[in-house]
Amino acid sequence: MSDPNGLIQPGRPAPGFTLASTPDGRRTGPEQFRGRPVVLAFYPADWSPVCGDQMSLYQAAAPVFEQYDAAVLGISVDSIWSHRAFAESRGIAFPLLADFEPKGEVSRRYGAYTPQGEAARALVVLDRAGTVAWSYLSPPEVNPGADGIFDALDQLATDREVMTR
Protein backbone atom coordinates (compact mmCIF):
# COMPACT_ATOMS: atom_id res chain seq x y z
CA MET A 1 0.00 0.00 0.00
CA SER A 2 1.10 3.48 -0.74
CA ASP A 3 1.02 6.25 1.84
CA PRO A 4 -2.70 7.11 2.04
CA ASN A 5 -1.79 10.79 2.15
CA GLY A 6 -0.17 10.56 -1.28
CA LEU A 7 3.16 11.98 -2.33
CA ILE A 8 5.13 13.74 0.40
CA GLN A 9 4.41 17.46 0.45
CA PRO A 10 6.60 20.57 0.89
CA GLY A 11 7.49 21.51 4.44
CA ARG A 12 7.78 17.93 5.69
CA PRO A 13 11.15 16.60 6.83
CA ALA A 14 12.41 14.08 4.30
CA PRO A 15 12.40 10.54 5.76
CA GLY A 16 15.99 9.40 6.15
CA PHE A 17 17.19 6.28 4.36
CA THR A 18 20.07 4.62 2.64
CA LEU A 19 19.74 2.13 -0.20
CA ALA A 20 22.21 -0.07 -2.04
CA SER A 21 23.76 1.90 -4.87
CA THR A 22 26.57 -0.37 -6.07
CA PRO A 23 26.98 -4.14 -6.39
CA ASP A 24 29.81 -4.09 -3.83
CA GLY A 25 27.33 -3.06 -1.17
CA ARG A 26 27.82 0.68 -0.94
CA ARG A 27 24.74 2.43 0.40
CA THR A 28 23.65 5.94 -0.53
CA GLY A 29 21.00 8.25 0.86
CA PRO A 30 20.06 11.92 1.05
CA GLU A 31 21.69 12.57 4.44
CA GLN A 32 25.08 12.13 2.79
CA PHE A 33 24.37 15.30 0.82
CA ARG A 34 23.24 17.61 3.64
CA GLY A 35 24.26 21.15 2.88
CA ARG A 36 23.32 20.63 -0.76
CA PRO A 37 19.92 20.47 -2.44
CA VAL A 38 18.97 16.87 -3.25
CA VAL A 39 16.74 15.73 -6.11
CA LEU A 40 15.03 12.37 -5.58
CA ALA A 41 13.75 11.01 -8.90
CA PHE A 42 11.48 8.02 -8.28
CA TYR A 43 10.73 6.09 -11.47
CA PRO A 44 8.84 2.88 -12.29
CA ALA A 45 11.53 0.76 -13.89
CA ASP A 46 14.91 0.57 -15.57
CA TRP A 47 14.69 -0.06 -19.32
CA SER A 48 11.16 1.11 -20.02
CA PRO A 49 11.51 3.68 -22.81
CA VAL A 50 10.17 6.70 -20.94
CA CYS A 51 12.35 6.05 -17.89
CA GLY A 52 15.35 5.73 -20.13
CA ASP A 53 14.64 9.10 -21.57
CA GLN A 54 14.06 10.69 -18.18
CA MET A 55 17.22 9.36 -16.53
CA SER A 56 19.26 10.01 -19.71
CA LEU A 57 17.93 13.54 -19.70
CA TYR A 58 19.03 14.11 -16.11
CA GLN A 59 22.48 12.83 -16.99
CA ALA A 60 22.64 15.18 -19.98
CA ALA A 61 21.58 17.99 -17.61
CA ALA A 62 24.32 17.12 -15.09
CA PRO A 63 26.27 20.36 -15.73
CA VAL A 64 23.15 22.36 -14.90
CA PHE A 65 22.55 20.40 -11.68
CA GLU A 66 26.18 21.12 -10.82
CA GLN A 67 25.54 24.85 -11.13
CA TYR A 68 23.01 24.48 -8.34
CA ASP A 69 25.34 22.19 -6.40
CA ALA A 70 22.43 19.74 -6.42
CA ALA A 71 22.79 15.97 -5.98
CA VAL A 72 20.53 13.77 -8.12
CA LEU A 73 19.49 10.29 -6.95
CA GLY A 74 17.37 7.96 -9.12
CA ILE A 75 15.25 5.43 -7.22
CA SER A 76 13.33 2.38 -8.47
CA VAL A 77 12.55 -1.12 -7.17
CA ASP A 78 14.99 -2.69 -9.65
CA SER A 79 17.97 -4.61 -8.35
CA ILE A 80 21.41 -3.11 -8.19
CA TRP A 81 22.51 -5.35 -11.08
CA SER A 82 19.77 -4.06 -13.32
CA HIS A 83 20.68 -0.50 -12.30
CA ARG A 84 24.31 -1.12 -13.17
CA ALA A 85 23.57 -2.47 -16.65
CA PHE A 86 21.04 0.32 -17.26
CA ALA A 87 23.46 3.02 -16.12
CA GLU A 88 26.20 1.62 -18.34
CA SER A 89 23.97 1.49 -21.39
CA ARG A 90 22.77 5.10 -20.94
CA GLY A 91 26.01 6.60 -19.66
CA ILE A 92 24.38 7.51 -16.34
CA ALA A 93 26.92 8.58 -13.72
CA PHE A 94 24.65 9.70 -10.86
CA PRO A 95 23.59 7.05 -8.30
CA LEU A 96 20.64 4.78 -9.07
CA LEU A 97 19.33 3.38 -5.79
CA ALA A 98 17.73 -0.06 -5.44
CA ASP A 99 14.52 0.10 -3.37
CA PHE A 100 14.61 -3.66 -3.65
CA GLU A 101 14.50 -5.24 -0.16
CA PRO A 102 12.17 -4.78 1.56
CA LYS A 103 10.66 -4.00 -1.82
CA GLY A 104 9.53 -0.41 -2.26
CA GLU A 105 9.93 0.52 1.39
CA VAL A 106 11.49 3.92 0.75
CA SER A 107 9.10 4.71 -2.09
CA ARG A 108 6.20 3.95 0.28
CA ARG A 109 7.55 6.29 2.92
CA TYR A 110 7.61 9.09 0.36
CA GLY A 111 4.11 8.24 -0.86
CA ALA A 112 5.56 7.26 -4.20
CA TYR A 113 4.60 3.58 -4.51
CA THR A 114 1.95 2.15 -6.83
CA PRO A 115 -0.38 -0.85 -6.51
CA GLN A 116 1.48 -2.27 -9.52
CA GLY A 117 4.49 -2.77 -7.27
CA GLU A 118 6.64 -0.06 -8.81
CA ALA A 119 7.77 3.35 -7.70
CA ALA A 120 5.55 6.12 -9.03
CA ARG A 121 7.11 8.65 -11.39
CA ALA A 122 7.63 11.28 -8.73
CA LEU A 123 10.09 14.11 -8.20
CA VAL A 124 11.03 15.36 -4.72
CA VAL A 125 13.43 18.24 -4.14
CA LEU A 126 14.99 18.57 -0.67
CA ASP A 127 16.56 21.77 0.61
CA ARG A 128 20.00 21.91 2.19
CA ALA A 129 18.58 20.97 5.59
CA GLY A 130 16.67 17.93 4.32
CA THR A 131 13.17 19.43 4.24
CA VAL A 132 10.94 18.76 1.26
CA ALA A 133 10.88 21.94 -0.82
CA TRP A 134 8.88 20.72 -3.80
CA SER A 135 7.28 17.51 -5.01
CA TYR A 136 5.54 16.47 -8.19
CA LEU A 137 3.74 13.32 -9.27
CA SER A 138 3.80 12.67 -13.00
CA PRO A 139 1.58 10.24 -14.91
CA PRO A 140 3.69 7.07 -15.26
CA GLU A 141 3.91 7.31 -19.04
CA VAL A 142 4.92 10.98 -19.10
CA ASN A 143 8.54 12.04 -18.77
CA PRO A 144 8.21 15.12 -16.53
CA GLY A 145 11.40 16.72 -17.82
CA ALA A 146 13.49 18.88 -15.50
CA ASP A 147 11.92 22.34 -15.69
CA GLY A 148 9.93 21.89 -12.45
CA ILE A 149 13.08 20.74 -10.66
CA PHE A 150 15.08 23.77 -11.79
CA ASP A 151 12.25 26.15 -10.87
CA ALA A 152 12.32 24.64 -7.36
CA LEU A 153 16.11 24.92 -7.18
CA ASP A 154 15.88 28.56 -8.31
CA GLN A 155 13.34 29.22 -5.57
CA LEU A 156 15.64 27.60 -2.99
CA ALA A 157 18.53 29.78 -4.12
CA THR A 158 16.34 32.91 -3.87
CA ASP A 159 15.10 31.96 -0.37
CA ARG A 160 18.67 31.44 0.72
CA GLU A 161 19.74 34.85 -0.57
CA VAL A 162 16.91 36.50 1.36
CA MET A 163 17.92 34.65 4.53
CA THR A 164 21.59 35.60 4.33
CA ARG A 165 20.85 39.23 3.54
Partner: protein, 182 residues
Protein backbone atom coordinates in the same frame (compact mmCIF):
# COMPACT_ATOMS: atom_id res chain seq x y z
CA UNK B 1 7.25 27.29 -1.37
CA UNK B 2 3.89 25.76 -0.60
CA UNK B 3 2.36 26.06 -4.06
CA UNK B 4 3.53 23.32 -6.37
CA UNK B 5 4.84 24.53 -9.67
CA UNK B 6 3.06 23.52 -12.82
CA UNK B 7 5.18 21.66 -15.27
CA UNK B 8 5.20 24.12 -18.13
CA UNK B 9 4.65 23.41 -21.76
CA UNK B 10 5.57 26.81 -23.10
CA UNK B 11 8.71 28.13 -24.70
CA UNK B 12 10.51 30.40 -22.24
CA UNK B 13 13.35 31.68 -24.43
CA UNK B 14 11.83 33.86 -27.14
CA UNK B 15 13.14 33.58 -30.67
CA UNK B 16 15.81 36.20 -31.34
CA UNK B 17 18.08 37.17 -34.22
CA UNK B 18 20.76 34.92 -32.67
CA UNK B 19 18.63 31.93 -33.59
CA UNK B 20 18.95 29.86 -36.73
CA UNK B 21 15.78 30.67 -38.62
CA UNK B 22 14.50 29.66 -42.01
CA UNK B 23 11.31 30.75 -43.66
CA UNK B 24 9.68 34.16 -43.98
CA UNK B 25 10.39 36.69 -41.22
CA UNK B 26 6.69 37.65 -41.12
CA UNK B 27 5.43 34.05 -40.90
CA UNK B 28 2.32 33.68 -38.77
CA UNK B 29 3.55 30.36 -37.37
CA UNK B 30 6.98 29.75 -35.86
CA UNK B 31 8.14 26.22 -35.12
CA UNK B 32 11.04 25.91 -32.68
CA UNK B 33 12.66 22.49 -32.77
CA UNK B 34 14.93 21.25 -30.01
CA UNK B 35 16.92 18.54 -31.75
CA UNK B 36 19.86 16.17 -31.55
CA UNK B 37 21.64 15.31 -34.80
CA UNK B 38 22.19 11.69 -33.77
CA UNK B 39 18.61 11.12 -32.60
CA UNK B 40 16.75 8.75 -34.91
CA UNK B 41 13.37 10.32 -34.09
CA UNK B 42 14.69 13.73 -35.12
CA UNK B 43 16.02 12.10 -38.27
CA UNK B 44 12.57 10.64 -38.95
CA UNK B 45 10.89 14.02 -38.41
CA UNK B 46 13.38 15.89 -40.61
CA UNK B 47 11.90 15.12 -44.08
CA UNK B 48 8.40 15.85 -42.77
CA UNK B 49 9.46 19.23 -41.43
CA UNK B 50 11.13 19.91 -44.75
CA UNK B 51 7.96 19.09 -46.67
CA UNK B 52 5.90 21.12 -44.20
CA UNK B 53 8.03 24.19 -44.89
CA UNK B 54 7.61 23.60 -48.62
CA UNK B 55 3.81 23.24 -48.44
CA UNK B 56 3.36 26.19 -46.05
CA UNK B 57 6.14 28.37 -47.42
CA UNK B 58 4.24 31.62 -46.78
CA UNK B 59 3.00 30.91 -43.27
CA UNK B 60 5.62 28.84 -41.44
CA UNK B 61 9.16 29.56 -40.35
CA UNK B 62 11.41 27.17 -38.54
CA UNK B 63 13.98 27.64 -35.76
CA UNK B 64 16.49 24.98 -34.76
CA UNK B 65 18.03 24.78 -31.28
CA UNK B 66 20.50 22.20 -30.03
CA UNK B 67 19.56 19.55 -27.51
CA UNK B 68 22.31 16.92 -27.70
CA UNK B 69 21.89 14.01 -25.27
CA UNK B 70 25.57 13.17 -25.32
CA UNK B 71 25.50 10.25 -22.88
CA UNK B 72 23.43 8.16 -25.29
CA UNK B 73 24.56 9.81 -28.55
CA UNK B 74 28.34 10.07 -28.58
CA UNK B 75 28.52 12.04 -31.85
CA UNK B 76 25.72 14.50 -31.09
CA UNK B 77 27.73 17.21 -29.37
CA UNK B 78 30.41 17.29 -32.04
CA UNK B 79 27.78 17.41 -34.77
CA UNK B 80 26.03 20.32 -33.01
CA UNK B 81 29.24 22.30 -32.61
CA UNK B 82 30.18 21.60 -36.23
CA UNK B 83 26.81 22.96 -37.34
CA UNK B 84 27.56 26.08 -35.29
CA UNK B 85 30.97 26.39 -36.93
CA UNK B 86 29.23 26.21 -40.30
CA UNK B 87 26.70 28.74 -39.01
CA UNK B 88 29.51 31.16 -38.17
CA UNK B 89 30.18 31.08 -41.92
CA UNK B 90 26.54 31.56 -42.86
CA UNK B 91 26.03 27.90 -43.72
CA UNK B 92 24.12 26.55 -40.72
CA UNK B 93 21.13 25.11 -42.57
CA UNK B 94 23.23 23.36 -45.21
CA UNK B 95 25.18 21.64 -42.44
CA UNK B 96 21.96 20.90 -40.53
CA UNK B 97 20.47 19.25 -43.60
CA UNK B 98 23.62 17.29 -44.35
CA UNK B 99 23.72 15.96 -40.79
CA UNK B 100 20.11 14.75 -40.86
CA UNK B 101 20.60 13.26 -44.31
CA UNK B 102 23.74 11.38 -43.21
CA UNK B 103 22.95 10.21 -39.70
CA UNK B 104 24.97 7.04 -40.30
CA UNK B 105 28.06 9.13 -41.06
CA UNK B 106 28.49 11.27 -37.97
CA UNK B 107 31.81 9.80 -36.83
CA UNK B 108 34.65 12.36 -37.01
CA UNK B 109 36.14 11.02 -40.26
CA UNK B 110 32.89 11.03 -42.22
CA UNK B 111 31.81 14.28 -40.64
CA UNK B 112 34.97 15.95 -41.96
CA UNK B 113 34.21 14.58 -45.41
CA UNK B 114 30.73 16.06 -45.17
CA UNK B 115 32.14 19.43 -44.18
CA UNK B 116 34.43 19.27 -47.18
CA UNK B 117 31.55 18.24 -49.43
CA UNK B 118 29.77 21.46 -48.46
CA UNK B 119 32.86 23.43 -49.51
CA UNK B 120 33.79 24.38 -45.94
CA UNK B 121 37.36 24.08 -44.59
CA UNK B 122 37.37 20.88 -42.46
CA UNK B 123 40.64 21.62 -40.63
CA UNK B 124 39.47 25.06 -39.58
CA UNK B 125 36.11 23.74 -38.39
CA UNK B 126 37.78 20.87 -36.55
CA UNK B 127 40.06 23.29 -34.77
CA UNK B 128 37.15 25.41 -33.65
CA UNK B 129 35.28 22.35 -32.40
CA UNK B 130 38.33 20.95 -30.60
CA UNK B 131 38.89 24.37 -29.03
CA UNK B 132 35.32 24.45 -27.76
CA UNK B 133 34.64 27.73 -29.58
CA UNK B 134 30.97 26.84 -30.11
CA UNK B 135 30.36 24.81 -26.96
CA UNK B 136 28.76 27.68 -25.05
CA UNK B 137 26.23 28.30 -27.77
CA UNK B 138 25.16 24.65 -27.83
CA UNK B 139 24.99 24.62 -24.04
CA UNK B 140 22.86 27.76 -23.99
CA UNK B 141 20.34 26.17 -26.33
CA UNK B 142 20.29 23.01 -24.20
CA UNK B 143 19.75 24.82 -20.90
CA UNK B 144 17.02 26.98 -22.41
CA UNK B 145 15.34 23.80 -23.64
CA UNK B 146 15.53 22.16 -20.22
CA UNK B 147 13.94 25.24 -18.67
CA UNK B 148 11.14 25.15 -21.23
CA UNK B 149 10.30 21.56 -20.35
CA UNK B 150 12.03 19.79 -23.22
CA UNK B 151 12.13 16.16 -22.06
CA UNK B 152 13.52 14.43 -25.12
CA UNK B 153 14.09 14.94 -28.81
CA UNK B 154 12.63 16.09 -30.99
CA UNK B 155 10.51 18.58 -29.06
CA UNK B 156 8.67 21.18 -31.11
CA UNK B 157 7.07 24.41 -29.96
CA UNK B 158 4.43 25.78 -32.30
CA UNK B 159 3.98 29.48 -31.58
CA UNK B 160 5.54 28.92 -28.14
CA UNK B 161 3.26 26.03 -27.14
CA UNK B 162 4.73 22.54 -26.92
CA UNK B 163 3.53 20.27 -29.70
CA UNK B 164 2.10 17.13 -28.11
CA UNK B 165 1.11 15.38 -31.33
CA UNK B 166 3.08 13.20 -33.72
CA UNK B 167 5.69 14.09 -36.31
CA UNK B 168 4.04 12.72 -39.43
CA UNK B 169 3.41 15.31 -42.10
CA UNK B 170 -0.36 15.14 -41.49
CA UNK B 171 0.09 15.78 -37.73
CA UNK B 172 2.43 18.67 -38.39
CA UNK B 173 0.12 20.24 -40.99
CA UNK B 174 -2.80 19.98 -38.58
CA UNK B 175 -0.78 21.65 -35.83
CA UNK B 176 0.49 24.57 -37.91
CA UNK B 177 -2.87 25.16 -39.61
CA UNK B 178 -4.55 25.29 -36.20
CA UNK B 179 -1.92 27.74 -34.95
CA UNK B 180 -2.28 29.90 -38.08
CA UNK B 181 -6.02 30.22 -37.49
CA UNK B 182 -5.87 31.30 -33.85
Amino acid sequence: MSTPFQVTARLRDPVTTDDHIRGPADASVTIVEYGDFQCQFCGAAYPNLHELLRQRADTVRMVFRHFPIANIHPYAERAAETAEAAGARGRFWEMHDWLYEHQDQLDPVHLSLGVEQLGLPPDELNQEVEGGVHADRVRRDFVGGIRSGVNGTPTLFVNDVRHEGGYDLADLLTAVDAAANT
